[in-house]
């Protein structure tokens, strides 16, 4: 405790935490609605997840186990810095294992391992307003949400189909929460949208620069916007993960040499490592075993 006394627990002062905590409770009570909050300066630049960091700082306690991911990985600069920050200011335990974490802060991905009751997923959100590209004025987008005027949004998505033959938005694909609010699920790939639907975990979203907090309680409907003739579809990958052989997971492309040789591997590094530890192998690790499978 003596070391902790040198600065505020979890960095934020108590008044700021109270303000953010009140915003979180209202966000939970109104799923998908963006609650304004007075965002504070954090010891990291915007774009580094200051909104998510403030949310995590307001909920985290000494009993928590924190996991931080950027894309699907725990070892990128952004994830490592945020994890180190909370180890220092809140002395919490950290983990890379999804199943062990009580709080998971993410910049893009939702872990492949199904989240469980009691876990909290905190998203770092750059642009919280799904209607912003249609309407730059906050007063107007707020009115559109208030009156449930989402027609333009549908038209835009439909135009997308007309132009590309499919909905080209692969990240930040808009969803409707609890049948009411259209919400931007942060720069999450639309591959992960179905994981938000009726998740057992509480999902909290923090946008630092835009000063918004929103939430999806557990077991809440999260439906990706689509059309009868063009139903919502997630990306599919032709091959399983080259390292662990997993199917139906989100894969990243890795270039192996100058000759253009490449492989596709799990973006969720913890998921991939766990599978390999369990003995699963992909073609890059064990070509002969794959043939035997």
């Amino acid at each position: 405790m003596s070391e902790l006394a040198a600065y505020n627990f979890a960095y934020l002062d108590e008044q700021t935490k109270r303000m953010i905590r009140r915003a979180i409770l209202k966000a939970i009570a109104i799923p998908g609605y963006q609650v304004p909050f007075a965002s504070r300066e954090m010891p990291m630049p915007y774009g580094w997840g200051t909104g998510g960091v403030q949310v995590t700082a307001s909920i985290i306690g000494p009993d928590d186990v924190l996991k931080v991911i950027d894309q699907g990985a725990d070892d990128t600069t952004n994830a490592v810095s945020i994890r180190a920050f909370f180890q220092k200011v809140a002395e919490v335990a950290v983990t890379t294992h999804t199943g062990e974490a009580t709080i998971i802060q993410t910049r893009h991905r939702i872990p492949e391992e199904t989240l469980k009751e009691g876990q909290v997923l905190v998203y770092q959100v750059p642009i919280p307003e799904p209607l912003r590209f249609l309407e730059p004025r906050e007063t107007e987008t707020r009115k559109m949400h208030a009156l449930e005027e989402y027609g333009l949004m549908h038209v835009k998505l439909y135009e997308d189909i007309a132009r590309h033959g499919r909905i080209a938005t692969t990240y930040a694909y808009p969803v409707k929460v609890h049948g009411r609010y259209v919400m931007d699920p942060s720069p999450t790939p639309k591959f992960d949208n179905p994981k938000m639907h009726r998740s057992e975990a509480l999902q909290l979203f923090g946008a630092g620069r835009e000063k918004r907090i929103y939430a999806v309680p557990p077991h809440t409907d999260v439906v990706s916007l689509d059309f009868e003739d063009h139903p919502f579809e997630i990306q599919t990958f032709d091959k399983p993960c080259a390292l662990c052989g997993a199917n139906h997971v989100y894969l990243d492309e890795i270039v192996l040499d100058d000759g253009g040789k490449r492989m596709f591997v799990c973006s969720d590094t913890d998921f991939c490592e766990t599978r390999r530890a369990e003995g699963h192998t992909g073609e890059m690790l064990a070509p002969s075993q794959e043939a035997a499978e």
Binding site: N8, F9, A10, E14, Q15, K17, R18, M19, R21, R22, A23, I24, L25, K26, A27, I28, A29, I30, P31, Y33, V35, P36, S58, I59, I60, G61, P62, E117, G118, R142, K143, H145, A146, L147, H178, R180, Y181, L202, A215, V216, P217, P218, H219, T220
Partner: protein, 202 residues
């Protein structure tokens, strides 16, 4: 302001960690209606304010939140405690209250008389903290909605009758409406505005 002895004591032993702990309990209950949370630390607000209600007050109220106190709680000891520990301003105007604390022993005004938020800012509504006799032993309520897989049950005893009667209306004006935290001694449960409540026939 007259300071009562009881106003100065009975707060958190460790304000930073205790308020984090209480907040997580409240957050968990708000995210999963039907869940009963417990305030384990020794908070001792002046009677008749209960320990959980007092802990919620310490955790969420400050000079930015106007607080309305029901008639049974509007005592010098409690107003002094609120002022000393939270620095929160008291209001007589229910529509200005960010938090309203009520006790089952005094009549509770209509839910509609509190701040409902606006269509554009539905978050600007009152959170009511209602002390009931107990969180079990009363008529069984069946809860549905966000935070609940299928249904959840809660049997609060001493919940003012009109709360149930007005609750459907509170849900109809969604996204506006009030949110409720029920407290009984050291325990608490939450009813966010999205919660659908029906009385389960015995």
């Amino acid at each position: 302001m007259q300071i009562h002895e009881t106003s100065l004591t009975g707060g958190f032993t460790n304000p930073v960690l205790d308020s984090q702990n209480v907040f997580r309990t409240v957050m968990n209950c708000m995210a999963q209606p039907g869940t009963i949370g417990e305030v384990a630390m020794g908070v001792e607000p002046p009677a008749p304010l209960g320990a959980a209600a007092g802990a919620v007050m310490l955790t969420l109220c400050d000079h930015d939140t106007a607080v309305w106190l029901g008639p049974h709680l509007l005592t010098p000891g409690i107003t002094g405690w609120l002022g000393f520990h939270c620095g929160a301003p008291l209001t007589k105007e229910k529509t200005e209250a960010k938090f309203a604390f009520a006790h089952h022993k005094a009549p509770l005004p209509s839910l509609m008389s509190f701040a409902q938020g606006t269509l554009e800012y539905p978050d600007r509504s009152t959170t009511l903290v209602i002390e009931v006799e107990a969180l079990d032993g009363g008529p069984t309520l069946e809860l549905k909605g966000p935070g609940i897989r299928t249904t959840a049950l809660l049997s609060p005893k001493g919940l003012p009758e009109h709360v149930l009667k007005q609750w459907a209306k509170n849900g109809q004006i969604f996204p506006q409406g009030v949110d409720v935290i029920l407290t009984a001694g050291h325990r608490l449960a939450a009813l966010p505005r999205t919660c659908k409540i029906s009385l389960k026939e015995a």
